[in-house]
Symmetry: C2
Subunit: 346 residues, 2 copies
């Protein structure tokens, strides 16, 4: 481990400590010759500048925080990979940070921003509890990605997301259009009215209402977490209930994979006995057998626009913005008309 | 954003700046009464200590780095979740960091350790290029997790992993035991002799040799990355080759999912026409239809032992250790004897 100090480097390069510091921090007012001399000494000595000291001198680092809720789902993992690549391409670095379920995201955000001297923040995922008062404590621009806030002054933050309620309504409309009326839903978190899970549940209610299908509470189940196991467990409960649905709309592809497996293990078929629909548009849905019909969120566009909006805010080039991307239904072998049901295998 | 300084806190609590600093850094020589008074003022004022300044004062932070290669596979994502929980349970924080394919992991590690003032390092995944010289530059203890180094003095680092070569050999032995001799392999990276991918390929060669099955190079394919899409593409190539295998051993579950889908899309069946075997033991393999037969790595044990070894090293309670966990073949519907092949559906 190099034990050279900035003073040693200054001495060897024949310049002042301030000049070395200016080169390290990429200030413009150092002549090219001096800059090259200092950089050569730094390279030759394998000198590692003390980052903590550097951060003290800078008002801001070039770091952007990425706050994600709970365990990573494949969709959020993919999204954060694209966000990281975009952030790096713009000359910033990404500091990812997971938030435990139930912890206030904004409190964590404020702490993270101050501790890591972040220049901006991306908040990703569905269950953050927010209020205008909390939001105002954020000392840097924040972009909510794949989610937004309800009842909060829109000029205080930015967001890039899909219309989860509308997208879920379209998913259920699709199931109705191919003949289903006994449609169950696998939700995420119960009582999550503001989050994506609650929004998708509302879309399900809207669609049923629109088609005059009475709501049957026994067909509404919750996974709790967006995992395959939770989708499996909730579907087993559903199948042992008093009324068997002809289709299950799952608010995440991971839940849908678990739902399919539970249906198979019960000796039933997908889609002939029960159709399954997912949400997100992940590889997992595409490569499942049968391919799972899903609602595709345009993750590349969402990730790139999130970074674009954040950078424009950090560089003070624009006001807060709210961008909503359209979703798309990707048909797949997991959905068919209930008339196709042939129970000959039983 | 709070603009209070440590001086303001000291004034309000009626103590010196040094005392506030001692409370913040949890030094033992502050009376309980004074400590409580300072903590109350800090809490009431919502004071955020300047972490950069605090790091300058400390020799080490309580942070442990987690270096991961490339894009996260579901196995590595799961593993890092468990590692994070374990690290937190021991009072440390985890700083995750992705390394791009082809970049020297140890170079990045040295930089990360010095910039973030890490106390220890966990290096996870398969493609790091290491040498003893590089390794000696690491100023803190390092534990290699799910991988190890070949040809390097074992006393200079620790590792917790499975025997990838042996495990792959057992997987192929299993396929041979149920009657297969035309066994293809989907590898990861080509020419990765030291990494997990190369080790698993060696195990495949060992098993063929043991059973006097001649090696057919047309049955050896590479995904390049451990993704479903790469597994799909490589299997499509394999199926259009001169010789169709009766079984495909994939060195990762994600590759195996893609392989199954390619087989289905070619109008063939799994396992009746081609058996598919994976590696890792992920949820994805378990919830696929049919369930994918795989080699289970005990991820909970690997993650917990990794943290245990690292903490023992950081707290200078033990020497470097190398721990190898056994793997287990999890049978699944994706493998059957080739005699079961019935091509009536074509």
């Amino acid at each position: 481990m190099s034990t050279l100090s900035i003073r040693d480097i200054a001495k060897m390069a024949g310049v002042s400590v301030t000049t070395v510091s200016r080169v390290l921090n990429n200030y413009p007012d150092v002549s090219e010759g001096t800059k090259r001399r200092v950089q050569r000494v730094i390279a030759e000595c394998d000198y590692q500048p003390n980052n903590a000291a550097r951060n003290l001198k800078r008002t801001h680092s070039n770091a952007v925080g990425l706050l994600m809720e709970g365990s990573a789902t494949p969709f959020i993992t993919d999204l954060s990979d694209i966000i990281e690549a975009e952030i790096n391409a713009h000359g910033y670095t990404l500091v990812p940070h997971r938030v435990t379920n139930g912890v206030s995201g904004v409190d964590t955000a404020v702490q993270l921003v101050m501790e890591k001297r972040l220049k901006g923040l991306i908040i990703c995922g569905g269950y953050f509890i927010h209020s205008l008062e909390q939001l105002k404590r954020l000392p840097v621009p924040a972009v909510f990605c794949t989610t937004t806030l309800s009842g909060i002054d829109h000029s205080t933050y930015s967001s890039v997301h899909v219309d989860d309620r509308q997208a879920a309504m379209e998913a259920v409309n699709y199931l109705v259009s191919i003949g289903h009326r006994d449609i169950a839903i696998l939700g995420g978190i119960e009582n999550d009215s503001g989050g994506v899970s609650g929004q998708r549940l509302s879309g399900y209610y809207d669609a049923l209402k629109q088609h005059h299908i009475p709501l049957d509470p026994t067909l509404v189940r919750y996974g709790g977490l967006f995992t395959m196991q939770r989708g499996y467990d909730a579907t087993c409960e559903l199948l042992s209930g008093s009324r068997q649905p002809s289709a299950v709309f799952c608010v995440a592809d991971s839940l849908a994979v678990g739902a399919c497996k539970a249906i198979f293990n019960a000796g039933l078929r997908v889609p002939q006995d029960i159709s399954v629909m997912g949400f997100d548009g992940t590889d997992m849905a595409r490569f499942y057998e049968p391919s799972i019909c899903t609602v595709r969120q345009p993750k590349e566009s969402i990730a790139k626009k999130t970074v674009e909006v954040l950078i424009s805010l950090m560089e003070k080039k624009g006001p807060n913005r709210h961008i909503i991307f359209p979703t798309e239904i990707v048909t797949g072998g997991s959905c068919a008309s209930p008339g196709n049901s042939v129970k000959s295998h039983q």
